[in-house]
Symmetry: C2
Subunit: 515 residues, 2 copies
């Protein structure tokens, strides 16, 4: 057989193939929760409290024009993993017009099986995968990470809201893999003044996973979905009071420390040259949290809105030896692009039976070249705005209702732009509001509809909108129904702990999404 | 004589003294005009168009809590050079309450001879000095730089406003040293679309001066007071259209290029290790210029106001080998501190017959240690606000009059904070408005007067105010009178050029300061 040329070629191909498999890069996605564009030193926070992330940017690429797919957490995360806009993957509600919806623990829906998440494709192509932290794509077992492409999970299906009483509402469970291992405020404490060891646990989970996987022959995906900057904001004792900006800054400092520890781990293990690390956030800072939330820098409004403060994310890409140090790219990017980019780098074919909204950023990351594309800003079932190049057109404007605003919920504190930060849902589709984000990043100065600039740009944007809408197949909305019987009463594994609670009878009803 | 021990000691002292003189550092102050805190990449501008200044920060120290002494150019510059607040050095007006005043070309006043500028003290102690660019401390000959401590000047006494007709108003002259060499819009063009070679000339002037002085035995001071980012904003052809944010961004890019060229020149000549370079700006970005002006990042309002946007400056200190690379200091700093710091570093005694408001920053720059001090925010003749630590108390609030605002002059576009961004002059001295600039850099969230925090902090700030006022000796206001006969009709040197114009009769009157 050794004299058979065809066999030799075959062996060579197998060897090359094994080499290729071994050479496939690892991926680490550090996804922050409600962290704003302006929260990092390198993105201009006056407190300059992120030395590790600033160093990450100095060693890698800064992407100041990078967006989430949605101004709210669950849809943003569903889009990150599916590569598709919430309007396609079902992470929206049409209970009412243009409402932000997410996955509270009584939500009936979750990530549909029909969505092909990139971790599923990586997994079926030899990758090992772990999610640490917040899942937020559905609390029912069929929606859990281990059913959707992850080998391991340490974290929770919902936000760390609470404490609850386990009677009217159960405390949110924390899982290790498929089984609950405890609950927030019971086994995993967050005190009323925001002290918690959770970030330290999440850091250790990450370091351990990386060390374990580095010793194996398989490449890995780590999705580090930490949530200390989401209200109730928390930090561990070593970081409490270390920031000039309260508990939120303490949380940022601890997460910065954690990001640094993860990068250091990759370097120590000698796999930094084979690992793409992306740092970003799921949506803008929660400006309604006032001094308790983060900063969106010079941008308008924040989380829940489709202004820049709601969806522009503090993003850094890092891959020593592959991504040149100290670069800045003004590529319009999206968290959905990680889908396409990661699959390309892993040598895995992306689905061809559906539209994937994410584009590949390899040419941006490795050659610092830009690709034209639009950013579509959805709120629930409505396309609110579109960015093309430096221009952004608002088809609809809305902050929140005047009633909610008058009761103290302000999505744009201290900011007021006439006809822009509206408290009514205003339909501008016939004459979109146009801004130039280069000269006017704060969306303050409307370009006059009679101007040459407006008449040149708007038709181009409208053509892009038409193209987008022509190919749009709306997914079945997953976030319409709520049912308190579906809460985390008896998570898998509760029986082993003797911690199962009794669910109330079903009371399926339309969820209420006020804004 | 050689056997005389006393003579040997004397010779040694002379040698040491010469060594000491030769070892005295050079100083370069790069003072921008109307550039905002948020205009540099390293301070969070989304366009990231200042690679040279970002590198300067990476090699030196960033000072995110650094202030001008005033929200307007002339008083800010008078304070920089005198080390004293405008209320002391006379660069204010009491024609009306709390008005911003400067030196238009019909101003009667200027920098008083009684003020001892630090360039005068450096000059009399063996330094060579040059100012390049805008002087702004009086257009009459007795106020010129060569009368106040500078050996050389290339630039203009006033802003580059115009073009004028040389009949009702003369175009602003440009001087080389004591003589006029031409006028803006005549010999030094700024076209209506903002094209001008002036920044290139200012860069070349700097490089030539540094090269000349590096070859001498004397240390030098270079005050690079460039003005391309002051309206009318300009850039040279090579930089026109290179920014995403219009002519203003083009100007920033060109100034960044210039700053880089100056640092490079110091390195090439091998004197970077003996030169302190400070980059800053004279006041906040002119937010009223709308998309034509700069960015104050996350801060409130801009130039003309005593909110953070009006007086917090994008500051970098650079001295390879003396200031460690990549540092950040949260020291509360002031442009007036350059006075005290520079004199200390030059080994020159500062005046002891008057209060100097600037403190020495040597312990900050070289040891990264902080010194407690207050920042006093004056507007004209009124103390508007005080910062102490992370707290800022507003004694008075004012933006501009509602009449001016309604006519379109907006100092806080898109920003509105109830009871804070007032259009009346509101006296809060009995119950100051208190903000925590750590958790609330945008001055949006008033600390409640009944809170423990308020009751703890306000007495401390009031004690500091009392101490300040007790020692305050107000200078004679220099900016009260205007007279069109004092305009630049016949600048020194005009006769050599045959370019003298005839002054009209004197019409001395109170200047009008609308805000």
């Amino acid at each position: 057989m050794s004299s058979c040329p065809a066999c030799l070629v075959g062996l060579l191909l197998i060897c090359l193939s094994i080499d290729y498999i071994n050479a496939r890069p690892n991926f680490v996605i550090m996804l922050m929760d409600d962290m704003g564009w302006g929260d990092l030193g390198v993105y201009g926070n006056p407190e300059k409290e992120t030395p590790n992330l600033d160093a990450m940017a100095a060693e890698g690429m800064l992407l100041p024009n990078f967006y989430s797919a949605n101004p709210l957490c669950s849809p943003s995360r569903a889009s990150l993993l599916s590569g598709r806009l919430p309007i396609r993957n079902g992470f929206y509600s049409n209970n009412a017009h243009a409402r932000n919806a997410y996955t509270p623990q009584d939500i009936a829906g979750g990530i549909p099986d029909a969505e092909i998440l990139f971790p599923e494709l990586l997994q079926s192509n030899g990758y090992r995968s772990k999610i640490i932290g917040k899942w937020h794509l559905g609390q029912q077992p069929q929606y859990h990470p281990l059913k959707h492409g992850f080998d391991e999970w340490f974290g929770a299906p919902n936000c760390h809201f609470g404490p609850y009483d386990d009677k009217k509402t159960p405390n949110i469970p924390v899982y290790r893999d498929a089984d609950m291992v405890g609950r927030y405020y019971e086994d995993f404490m967050i005190t009323s003044d925001g002290e918690s060891n959770l970030t330290q646990i999440y850091i250790q989970e990450a370091l351990t996973f990386i060390q374990k996987e580095a010793a194996s022959n398989q490449p890995f995906l780590l999705y580090w979905a930490v949530d200390a900057t989401h209200g109730p904001v928390y930090a561990s004792p070593a970081f409490m009071g270390t920031s000039n900006r309260g508990r939120y800054g303490d949380a940022v400092r601890e997460l910065d420390y954690g990001a640094g520890a993860i990068l250091k781990q990759l370097q120590t293990l000698g796999i930094d040259n084979n690992t793409l690390v992306i740092f970003s956030s799921d949506n803008g800072a929660a400006t309604y949290a006032k001094t308790g939330g983060g900063s969106n820098g010079p941008f308008l409004c924040g989380k829940e809105t489709t202004f820049e403060g709601g969806m522009r994310e503090p993003t850094i890409a890092w891959w020593p030896g592959k991504i040149g140090a100290g670069q800045v790219s003004h590529q319009l990017g999206s968290l959905m692009d990680l889908y396409t980019t990661i699959l390309e780098l892993a040598g895995v074919q992306r689905p061809t039976d559906r539209i994937i909204d994410g584009i590949s950023l390899t040419n941006t990351l490795f050659n610092n070249q830009e690709t034209d594309r639009e950013i579509f800003y959805y709120r629930g079932d409505e396309l609110m705005a579109v960015r093309q190049g430096l221009y952004k057109a608002h088809l609809w404007t809305w902050t929140n209702s005047i009633e909610e605003f008058n009761e103290g919920t302000d999505f744009c504190p201290g900011q007021e732009i006439a006809n822009v930060t509206t408290h009514d849902q205003v339909n501008n589709t016939m004459q979109p509001l146009l801004f130039h984000l280069g000269t006017d990043p704060g969306e303050k100065y409307l370009i006059h509809p009679m101007s040459h600039e407006y008449r040149t740009i708007i038709p181009r944007i409208q053509a892009a909108i038409m193209k987008h809408k022509q190919t749009l197949v709306r997914g079945t909305p997953q976030l319409n129904y709520c049912d308190s019987s579906l809460m985390n009463w008896a998570p898998t594994g509760c029986e082993k702990l003797g911690r199962c609670l009794t669910a109330p009878p079903s009371n399926r009803q339309l969820c209420v999404w006020p804004h």
